[in-house]
Assembly symmetry: C6
Homo-oligomer: 77 residues x 6
C-alpha cells in the first residue's frame, strides 16, 4: 500500500501549515500536467514572470486558508 | 436512473477529498464546453501554459476549501 | 407575479446544488450583458478558449461554496 | 441627511440578495472610477468581452457569498 | 505615537464597512508601491481600463467579506 | 534551532495583522522563486504595473481574511 501524499491537514505549527499549503498548490499543478519533463521546462518560465509568481502566491493563500481553518488557526482565541 | 456524478461531498480521507476537488473543477469546464472533441484539442494548450496551470490549481484550491469544510477538515481539532 | 429565478439556495442533492451554482454563474453574466444576441455571439469565443473555460469554472467553484454552505454541505458531519 | 446606498445586508429573498451582490460589485467599480462619462464609455467594451464578463460574474459571486452568509442563507438547515 | 491606519475592523454601518474595505484594498497597493509619484502616474491607466476596474472591485469584495464577518454582518439573523 | 518565520497567526492589533498578511503574501512569492537576485530584478517590473499591483493586493486580502479570522476579528461582536 503506497503512502498517501495527504494523510492529514493537521500540522503542529503555522509554519508547517504554510508548507502544506504550498504542497497542496503544487499538487494541483502536477495532477493537471503529470509530465514532469514539461513541468521542469515550464518552471523557469513562470518563476521569472512577476504575474505568474503573484498568481502562485494567491493559490498558496487560498490553500493556507483551508489548512489554517483545519487547525483551528493553531488554537487560542 | 443514471448514477449521480456527485452523490456526496464526504470522503474518507483528505487525499480522496482532493481528488473530489479536482473532479469538481473538471466538471465546471466540461459543463461549459460539453464538446469532448474541443476539450481534447484544448487540453494540450493549457497543460503547456504555466499561467493556465496555475489558474487550474486555483480552481482546485477553491473546491478543496468546500470539500474540506464539508468533511469537518477530517475531524479532530 | 413572475416566478423568481432564485427562490431558494436549498437543493436535495449536491449534484443539484452544483447545477444551481452554474445557474448563479450564468446569471451574473446575463445581468451584465442582457443582450442575448451578443451573448450568443460571445459564447463560442470563450467556450473555445482554455483560459476562459478555467475562469468560468472558477466562478462556478465560488458559487458552489455558497450553495454547499447553505445546504450544510448536505448534512452529516 | 442623504440616504445610505447600503443601509443593510439583509434581504427578504435570495433573488433580492443576488441583486444586492450586483449593486455591491458595481459600487466597487464606481468608487474607483467616479467619472460617469468614462464608465459609460468603458461599459460597451467590457460588456462585449467574454473574459471581462466572466470576471464581473466572479466579483458578483464573491459579494453574493457575503450577502448569503449575512442572511443565514435565507434560513432553514 | 502615530495613530494606527487600522485601529479596528468594526464599523457602525455596512456603508462604513464598505468604505473600510476600500481603504484595505488601497493600502495593499500602497504598501507594495510606496512611491506616491508612481501611484499617481499609474492611477489614470488602470482607472481607464475595464479589466483593472473589475480587478479592483474584486479586491474590495474580498476585503468586504472580512469586514462584514467581523461585524457579524451588522447583526440580526 | 532557527527561529520560525511564522510562529503564530495571532497579533495584538488589526494593523499588525495586516502586516502579517503582507508577510504571508511575500513569502509565497519567495518560496516559489528563492533566487533573491531574480526577485530584486522583477520587483520594479510589477511594482510599476497597475494590474500586478492589484493582483498583489488581492493576495494580501486573502491572507488578511485568514489572519483576521484567526484573531476572532480582534474580538468584540
Amino acid at each position: 500500500m503506497s503512502k498517501s501524499w495527504l494523510p492529514t491537514l493537521f500540522t503542529d505549527t503555522p509554519e508547517e501549515g504554510y508548507a502544506l499549503a504550498i504542497k497542496l498548490s503544487r499538487t494541483g499543478v502536477k495532477l493537471t500536467q503529470p509530465d514532469t519533463e514539461v513541468l521542469t521546462r515550464l518552471r523557469p518560465i513562470y518563476a521569472d514572470d512577476p504575474d505568474s509568481l503573484v498568481a502562485v502566491s494567491q493559490v498558496i493563500a487560498i490553500n493556507f486558508q483551508t489548512v489554517a481553518a483545519a487547525n483551528g488557526y493553531w488554537k487560542a482565541a
